[in-house]
């Protein structure tokens, strides 16, 4: 029971901090606070999704940036056509988030399905590399999309619209992103503890045992992979709306690596740890860049130290400890 309590307690503390932080920062004259928090929340959404398959399924994807970029590109491209007055296969387009976002998520799910199906034929290092390969392919496709700006990326003239929520208002946008994060974490938590989740985790701990209990590994891993792709895609959608432009940058291996680093930093298989990881990683990057342009000379060794001594990331020990006995 204590594990449940620790998760709930940590989750509530984080939520309280994320709710209050912008209000507190607004009292100071630091204008970068809200955008920084928004970035943290969006990244958190992506890395929580990644943690779902790495932490609970040992599926180390080095290509999750492809879903991040796809989510963003789908909304940006559709918005672009709508604003240009083009029709898309006879459809005049829309700017409504309620329509565009599910569409983008569907695209991510389909890509996840295809990539997952092929990649899950391999394991371990080969899985890491084949996901990377697919992400690189997506990256090169995006770079070669001349019509959508190619390497320079595509501007969005406005954010999507949503009934009764002003996405253009930074406060409303932040709290919307935060709400989505909360919902997503709760959903992931539900999955982890579900009948599906039990099997999925069993596959990580002992595939042979699970198979001899009659489990066919592929559908379970594929389902989790697709769910993870959708979550990362949602983060991409939010990112596109936050930044109001998308670039192939979103699909580089460095971005995928960043996601991996954040998950590890926060603590694998904890769902909440990666959120703390995102806050620390992005916060640190922000603080260090303000301090010196040679910030990497500090950031680098910090990552090394975390890998060497933070055996389970920042929150791994705490959130995983105290279970059974």
């Amino acid at each position: 029971m204590s594990r449940f309590n620790r998760f709930t307690l940590t989750g509530l503390v984080m939520l309280a901090l994320l709710i209050i932080a912008p209000v507190v920062i607004a009292q100071t004259d630091w204008s970068g606070g809200l955008p920084l928090l928004t970035r943290i929340v969006i990244y958190a959404l992506a890395v929580v999704s990644l943690d779902l398959i790495i932490g609970y399924g040992a599926l180390v994807s080095f290509g999750h940036a492809m879903f991040f970029s796809l989510g963003g590109y789908v909304v940006a491209v559709l918005l672009h056509h709508t604003n240009m007055g083009d029709t898309i296969f006879g459809w005049e387009g829309t700017n409504s988030a309620l329509l565009l976002w599910p569409l983008a998520l569907l695209a991510c799910a389909l890509l996840g399905l295809v990539v997952g199906y092929l990649a899950l034929k391999t394991r371990g290092v080969q899985f890491i590399m084949i996901t990377l390969a697919f992400a690189q392919m997506v990256y090169f496709v995006l770079v070669s999309l001349q019509y959508y700006g190619g390497d320079d990326g595509l501007m969005m003239d406005m954010r999507n619209t949503m009934p009764s929520i002003q996405l253009d208002d930074p406060w409303a946008f932040y709290y919307l992103a935060l709400t989505l994060l909360v919902v997503w974490v709760l959903f992931c938590r539900l999955i982890v503890n579900s009948r599906f989740g039990l099997v999925f985790q069993a596959l990580r701990q002992s595939e042979r045992r699970a198979v001899n209990l009659g489990v066919n590994p592929l559908p379970f891993r594929l389902t989790a992979f697709v769910i993870s792709a959708v979550g990362t895609g949602l983060a991409g959608i939010l990112w596109a709306n936050y930044a109001e432009f998308v670039t192939p940058d979103m699909a580089t291996w460095a971005k995928s690596g960043e996601f991996l680093a954040i998950v590890t930093l926060g603590g694998l298989g904890t769902l909440l740890g990666p959120i703390a990881g995102a806050a620390v990683f992005i916060g640190l990057e922000q603080i260090l860049t303000i301090w010196t342009e040679h910030w990497m000379i500090v950031m680098g060794p910090m990552l090394v130290l975390i890998a060497l001594f933070g055996q389970q990331g920042m929150l791994g020990r705490y959130l995983k400890g105290g279970r059974h006995d």
Binding site: S31, R39, D152, G153, T289, I290
Partner: protein, 392 residues
């Protein structure tokens, strides 16, 4: 010497404390948002831009007569970071921005600044998106429109009498723009159009294709390290002697020439300005820059210095008050100052109408490779997008 010491000190301060540089911060100092790329291998360009701008500000912390504070932010060549910085600076009340070094970063920063009603004056990139239908009254480009060097190179190729050429660029937007710009003005035959991979390091395959096509010359655009690699390998393959190479200025800037060595000798480039410009303002600038920072200024440094002086002239005309945006805009648009390169005027899209030169990398008396001016190839050249720009 006095100046050198001060400038060094200011430069060092900027390096050590990063980013917010306070030069004699008076209470009323005008804050200028200066977002540029300092980290990453391309950071040397950002350093040149920042340092030249700082040099223009001088030891008294004034741009013209107006006390200013440069709010320098490193974007790390990530548009998202730059956008973040722009948001932050806009919210803290900054109204005037400059410094961005790359088109994709500018694409992230410019709209944010425009939305806030602030001004942006570009020190380097002039992407076509903002030069045509999406031009903006508060957006000025004090350098060049992105296609200009390529168009000038096309004219140069005509003048040099090349009848068939092979053209190469990396397969991304700027690369495609480059080759299209060249083809717009070039009158001969393009026998082969080769797109290389982004971040490609080895060009042996492309060199073999060039050799077999046996053109009169090649035109190639590869920025940064790729440009150096290309020039070195081109020389090593023995092609430089038989097939002349023409490049836009930023494919071989002063720093890149050092890393390219003798392989750069004999290469032609289209340019706005070089260190060998024959006028006092230019010589003085090169001397001061070298004294202050111990290195040769690149074309980017010159552009930043001119941008600073353009802003200085406009500020002086409005007594440092940019709250009256209309007045400040009108003064900027006059371009009423003496640049180091040839004087220019602004077209309707507020991009420069200016002269371009054909230059050649040659050894000087000291055996150093310098960029000598061959001849003027374009007079009062205007970009192709100006006609699409309709200011209100």
């Amino acid at each position: 010497m006095e100046l050198k010491g001060k400038a060094m000190r200011v430069g060092l301060l900027a390096t050590a404390l990063g980013t917010t540089m306070v030069a004699h911060a008076a209470a009323e100092a005008l804050r200028i948002g200066f977002i540029t790329t300092l980290s990453t291998p391309a950071g040397y360009i950002g350093e040149d831009i920042r340092d030249a701008f700082t040099l223009a500000i001088g030891e008294d912390g004034r741009l013209g007569n107006t006390p200013v504070v440069l709010e320098v932010e490193d974007d790390g060549l990530k548009p998202a970071n730059a956008k973040q910085s722009a948001d932050r600076l806009v919210q803290s009340g900054v109204k005037l921005f400059t410094g961005v070094n790359f088109s994709n970063v500018l694409a992230a920063v410019q709209p944010t600044v425009m939305k806030s009603g602030g001004f942006y004056v570009s020190v380097n990139p002039g992407p076509s998106v903002f030069a045509g239908a999406k031009c903006n009254p508060n957006y000025f480009v004090a350098s060049y429109q992105n296609d200009a060097f390529h168009e000038a190179a096309g004219l140069a190729a005509n003048k040099l009498g090349y009848e068939k050429v092979v053209i190469l660029a990396p397969n991304y937007q700027a690369g495609r723009d480059a080759l299209n710009g060249f083809k717009r003005t070039y009158e001969g035959e393009v026998v082969e159009e080769i797109y290389t991979k982004l971040n490609q390091t080895d060009f042996s395959v492309e060199l073999a294709r060039i050799r077999s096509a046996a053109p009169d010359a090649i035109y190639q655009f590869h920025p940064g390290g790729a440009g150096i690699n290309f020039a070195k390998q081109y020389d090593n393959a023995g092609l430089k002697e038989s097939v002349p190479m023409l490049v836009p200025a930023f494919s071989l800037d002063a720093q890149m020439v050092k890393a390219t060595g003798d392989a750069a000798e004999g290469v032609y480039a289209s340019a706005l300005w070089t260190t060998e410009f024959d006028n006092d303002a230019s010589r003085d600038f090169v001397k001061r820059f070298e004294e202050a920072y111990g290195r040769t200024p690149t074309m980017y440094a010159e552009q930043a210095y001119d941008t600073a002086n353009l802003i200085a002239a406009a500020l002086d005309a409005v007594d440092g008050d940019i709250e009256d945006a209309d007045a400040f805009r009108a003064e900027l648009a006059k371009a009423d100052f003496k640049p180091i390169r040839d004087p220019f005027t602004f077209g309707p899209n507020q991009h420069p109408i200016q002269n371009y030169y054909l230059t050649r990398f040659e050894k000087n008396a000291d055996g150093e490779i310098v960029q000598t001016v061959v001849e003027r190839i374009a007079e009062n050249h205007q970009d192709a997008y100006a006609k699409d720009c309709k200011m209100d």
